[in-house]
Symmetry: C2
Subunit: 351 residues, 2 copies
């Protein structure tokens, strides 16, 4: 198939450090190309991809040191370029939330739109009611809850290239936290669990400008505990070592996580996940196989004690079966084919 992938322009594809959407787009492009498809990626110019790159901005917006820039203008120019070339593709796959809807109303039946963010926001319902002709993909079933009426075509869980992470046979005895330092991700819970158990905890995390006060007031004082080590933000190259060395990833979230990519990054390293029962967690973690699903600190501590019952090789196998880049690409290809049949059927009925 001739497939266009349209990425957001905020981070590089894939991101150098933290960043979920552009990472998934990168892995999807590579997997589709590996499966023999003709893939064009509309993204900023520093993208590294096996797809054909159509660069639409000189660099990703958040990496661009220019002080004065416009997110909206950048994406509008990108979408105008996609529109100009739309006839070259069998399917246009958007990862840009909703901003493309007014551009592609007459081509909606040739599009797929994956929603990567939380959907419990005011104003969204109006948009997804008005532009019902666009088939939508959720990244977990749970993500759909605030917009049950929307035009959902499929849930496609994320995947990551299986070669990027080294499965580790053994661990080095610490617990890990990886993500943004933010009230939703609850690094304070991870610290409480580890210190209560007397286990070392390593925290690899980004501190966004928006979360700086939370970090300074709530988290930084906890980092002085002798069992806690804060290693800052790490990139893909460091993740295998960091996650693979951990006895478990702690994922004590307190928000409707739409997917939670770090859970499958851990699984790719053979590392189990102890996750709080929120958002997508029940769809990603298989309790007793790839990790444990818990509801509070007591259950989390009990889960740590049960970690030796899990098989790290089995966790890696489940990652390969469910969450590799090619597994994700095959799910999307099935969807593209189904939508193409539907579009052809609709056109046939008209003819």
């Amino acid at each position: 198939m001739r497939i266009a992938q349209i990425s957001p322009l905020y981070e590089a594809v894939p991101p150098r450090l933290y960043g979920g959407t552009e990472r998934v787009v990168a892995h999807l492009c590579d997997a589709l190309a590996e499966l023999g498809h003709d893939v064009t990626l509309f993204a900023s110019a520093e993208a590294r991809t096996r797809a054909r790159l159509a660069p639409v901005r000189d660099q990703a917006i958040r990496l661009d040191p220019t002080a004065l820039k416009s997110d909206l203008a950048a994406h509008m120019s990108q979408l105008a370029e996609v529109r100009r070339r739309a006839h070259e593709f069998d399917v246009l796959h958007f990862h840009t939330d909703m901003v493309h809807f007014p551009f592609f109303e007459d081509l909606a039946h040739h599009t797929v739109t994956t929603l990567h963010g939380r959907l419990d926001m005011k104003d969204l319902a109006g948009v997804y009611r008005r532009w019902r002709q666009f088939p939508l993909v959720s990244i977990s079933d749970d993500q759909r809850k605030p917009l049950p009426f929307a035009n959902w075509a499929a849930t496609v869980h994320h995947g990551l290239h299986a070669d990027l992470y080294r499965p580790s046979a053994g661990h080095r005895g610490y617990l890990a936290f990886l993500g943004r330092i933010s009230p939703e991700k609850r690094p304070d819970r991870a610290i409480a669990i580890a210190t209560r158990l007397g286990r070392p905890l390593r925290i690899a995390a980004k501190v966004d400008r928006a979360d700086r006060a939370y970090f300074d007031d709530k988290i930084e004082p906890l980092l002085h505990h002798p069992l806690v080590a804060f290693v800052g933000e790490i990139g893909d190259a460091g993740k295998s070592g960091f996650l693979g060395g951990a006895e478990a990833l702690l994922f004590p979230i307190d928000w409707p996580e739409p997917f939670g990519l770090v859970m499958i990054e851990a699984m790719a390293c053979g590392t189990p996940v102890i996750a709080y029962d929120c958002g997508s967690v029940r769809e990603v973690v298989e309790d007793g196989l790839t990790g444990f699903i818990v509801r509070d600190e007591d259950e989390a501590c009990a889960a740590v004690a049960r970690l030796p019952t899990l098989d790290r090789a089995a966790i890696r196998r489940r990652f390969e079966e469910r969450f590799s880049g090619q597994a994700m690409a095959r799910r999307y290809l099935a969807l593209y084919a189904r939508l193409a049949r539907g579009a052809a059927g609709a056109l046939g009925a008209l003819a």
Copy 2:
């Protein structure tokens, strides 16, 4: 004429406190209605207007206490509603930068777009090159400088309803600063000028979240000077008293101000403006008549000494002639008529 005015949804129309674009939209709607036109305002529901209100959101986004909301989704729903009703109007007048372009490509010859912000931002040039069919209005000639190639149809200076401000015959001996506390507005310069001259300075200003560190580090320590009084943010009701009581408004800006509404608010009160020579200033202030244009602190101090040579009644008259709401509305009506003739001409040539 049947005129649609499409406001941004960030602030109330007019704003309760600080906020430029929605204030101008409010005054334009009222003046067009007073001149007998059939005006429909697409805005959030708390708008106070003489136009017919088409409410498209329950409240302005920045006043809405909901934590999770989407600016883009709110504006997309608004624009879809304008699109649905577009056939009811002779002209669609947008104040929403560029977000409406993909919705109205086939109706561009029935639109006017006033650009209210600074235009020296990366990414904008691409958009204004691609959507050249949309006639644009600048709010000063100076504002156009970064985009000289854009489809400029006119410059229309802002206006405000003449009745909103009481012209004051005399002042109460202080200098005034009114605006945001931000590095571009340079409240530090205002403080330096006033304290050097030994004159009282009253500062009525908003501190945005983004400017909090600048306020705390750079400005707050200066506010302890016995000549300086910080009165916080004031609304329209307080402006006549605040500006009318001032011997002059200090406007010591350090950025390409696209218009600078506070300058004409001062003039409406008969209060002269001492403004640094940036952005729109030469188009708004008439040196030696409605104020003084200066380049540095020495010139600003010299200008304060020359304030008694200015006639406050004459300043108010110039405001009424140049910057009343009706003066602005007449300029826009002339533009609507000119564009309508052009559109008819273009259609005639095709027929």
